[in-house]
């Protein structure tokens, strides 16, 4: 396959589309995967937790 302008454009226009769709699907599935919800809910509380302002050591 020659590395010329038309080839690069063809690759960008085809692969680019599938790459975007695939990454969008992965991001959405991961975000809405039911078992991930618990972790997200806990993470969301992180900034507002009133706890001592120091690293956890154990």
């Amino acid at each position: 396959m020659p590395f010329d302008h038309d080839t690069v454009v063809g690759f960008s226009k085809s692969f680019g589309l599938f790459y975007l769709v695939a990454l969008s699907v992965i991001a959405l599935v991961w975000t809405y995967w039911p078992s991930n919800k618990k972790g997200f809910d806990e993470a969301a509380k992180r900034p507002v937790l009133e706890e001592e302002d120091r690293p956890w050591r154990g």
């Binding site: 454009v9 226009k13 975007l20 990454l23 969008s24 991001a27 959405l28 991961w30 975000t31 809405y32 972790g39 997200f40 809910d41 806990e42 993470a43 969301a44 509380k45 992180r46 900034p47 507002v48 001592e52 302002d53 120091r54 690293p55 956890w56 050591r57 154990g58």
Partner: protein, 547 residues
């Protein structure tokens, strides 16, 4: 600063600073017939000064192991002060160049006072000096709190903060001397660019090393945004600055790219500097400090993740909207336009998420100027991203491009979004960072808020008006097909708006000075008496009535 370092770290610091001094010396000798030599002397002074300072503190007592029970906030404290100092410099020069546009004679025929040299001092001063220091300072703060882990060591955060400021000084002093590679927001020459890469790799390593030691299983979303900012800025910076210096003794270099490839690379860089420096990093700030100040968790954590991936995917392709109606292939322009329009979805998801988080806390927004700064930032973020998507449409761009409308758009983002979220976050952590009970004057925060808001509104409206008038004057034709107005006609029409713009900028600058004064006075307030005792021992619960 030096007292925080262990003995081994002090020796490392001397080694690094000594090497820096030697590099400076080599630059000064190799570039003695060039402006590079002057930068060599600056680097030598920085390296040597630091070396002597560390050497003098070499035998000071080592920090106790107790330090590991605390977060390492000293770099954040220094970073916050540097943020405000750069704000005053960057916005001060911004006001000056705004005045220069209204009264062009004020260059007084001094080369370094000319608009072309001062403007990049303004843009780099506010973006890199003010914004960059704010991002470094807050990212260290947020990273530690959300991972519940202390920064990995005491030396690398200083290397990043001080090394970054050395880059900013080299950049700004170079512009004044006339050193530039003529790429917008990437003006510094090759040696400064290489130095920034070194600093940036260490910055990313701090993030990775702290995350590896995290005590929280989930990485809070703010860190994702900060990491996207660090990682992508590194990629953009390296690719756009690929260049060959004409010799190791010369500041001048030639870019690897030329013609339309150069333009495309530059605006891929330039727009993603907006995306990942001025958006992703500050969204990281917003996703931590806004919920914290409002006392409410983010409205939808899932939405914040989807916005994150949306913004990181799509911004990458939007840069070509800067090159509508140029030699760039038409389909690439259309691609940039399409992605810019779709970008509105994740952008508004973020702005909406922030405002919905405040739903139920509007009374706090009313009473607390600090939270109001953040709320206003979210509103301006929404306005600016809408405007940006709209301006990226080719037909709209034919009117707006090369006019002051673009300047208005940029400042709605820079003043309304970036600076507001920064000031809000800064005020919210200054008291705890400096172990003071409160900010020195709540009233001055209020004054700053109204100065900032009125300054932004005056600035943006002046530029909107001026931009649209400019665009229309440039495209008005006579019956015979000639241009109705000459360029100078449009310039005369702009004059009142340029005065209004300088006034808006002045108000914003006064706000930044108010912030600096307020923070300095906060630091100078006496520390709460029981501070040290309260640190280590949990406070006894107060007796409740009826107990």
């Amino acid at each position: 600063m030096i007292a925080d370092l262990t003995r081994a770290e002090r020796l490392w610091a001397m080694l690094i600073l000594g090497a820096l001094g030697l590099i400076g010396l080599a630059m000064a000798i190799g570039g003695r017939n060039d402006l590079l030599g002057i930068h060599g002397w600056i680097v030598l002074a920085a390296g040597l000064g630091g070396f002597i300072a560390v050497m003098r503190g070499l035998d000071a007592p080592e920090p106790s192991a107790e330090r590991l029970n605390e977060y390492y906030d000293a770099p954040t404290r220094v970073g916050l002060i540097l943020t405000l100092l750069w704000a005053v410099v960057g916005m001060g020069v911004g006001f000056w160049v705004a005045a220069l546009l209204a009264w062009p004679d004020m260059t007084f025929d001094v080369p370094w006072l000319s608009f072309g040299r001062l403007r990049p001092v303004h843009t780099s001063g506010v973006i890199f000096g003010f914004g960059g220091n704010a991002l470094i300072a807050t990212s260290f703060h947020v990273l530690q709190r959300t991972t519940r882990a202390r920064l990995p060591d005491q030396i690398s955060p200083w290397f990043v903060l001080l090394g970054y400021n050395l880059f900013c000084i080299i950049a700004a002093s170079g512009y004044l001397m006339g050193l530039t590679q003529s790429k917008e927001y990437a003006e510094p020459e090759w040696y400064a660019d290489i130095w920034l890469v070194v600093v940036w790799v260490v910055y990313f390593a701090i993030y990775m090393r702290t995350l590896a030691r995290r005590k929280e299983p989930h990485i809070y979303v703010a860190n994702w945004y900060y990491m996207a900012f660090i990682l992508v800025v590194a990629i953009l910076h390296i690719v756009n600055n690929l260049a060959v210096p004409i010799s190791l003794g010369s500041a001048k270099s030639y870019s690897l790219f030329s013609g339309v490839q150069d333009a495309m690379t530059q605006w891929w860089y330039g727009h993603n500097a907006v995306a990942f420096f001025l958006t992703a990093g500050f969204l990281g700030m917003m996703y931590y400090y806004l919920p914290k100040r409002a006392g409410r968790p983010i409205f939808s954590y899932r939405m914040s993740i989807i916005s994150f991936w949306g913004i990181t995917f799509m911004y990458m392709w939007a840069g070509s909207h800067h090159l509508h109606y140029t030699a760039l292939p038409h389909w690439v322009q259309t691609l940039g336009m399409a992605f810019s329009v779709v970008l509105l979805v994740p952008s508004w998801a973020s702005a909406g998420n922030a405002l919905l988080t405040l739903n139920g806390a509007w009374h706090k927004v009313r009473d607390d100027a600090v939270l109001r700064f953040m709320a206003l930032a979210a509103i301006f973020y929404g306005i600016t991203t809408f405007e940006g998507s709209f301006m990226a449409i080719r037909a709209v761009n034919s009117l707006s491009h090369y006019t002051d409308w673009t300047i208005g758009h940029v400042h709605a983002g820079a003043l309304g979004w970036v600076a507001m979220i920064t000031f809000g976050s800064l005020y919210s952590i200054v008291p705890s960072m400096f172990r003071r009970e409160r900010i020195y004057s709540q009233k001055l925060v209020e004054v700053h808020f109204w100065l900032a808001l009125s300054g932004t509104v005056i600035y943006v409206f002046a530029m909107w008006n001026s931009g649209v008038i400019q665009g229309l004057m440039w495209r008005t034709y006579t019956e015979s097909g000639g241009l109705t107005y000459s360029f100078i006609d449009s310039l005369v029409a702009m004059h009142p708006y340029y005065i209004a713009r300088a006034f808006g900028g002045l108000l914003f600058l006064l706000g930044a000075l108010t912030a600096l004064y307020n923070v300095v006075m906060t630091i100078r307030m006496p520390a709460p008496a029981a501070d040290d005792a309260a640190l280590d021992i949990p406070a006894k619960p107060a007796l409740q009535a009826g107990e």
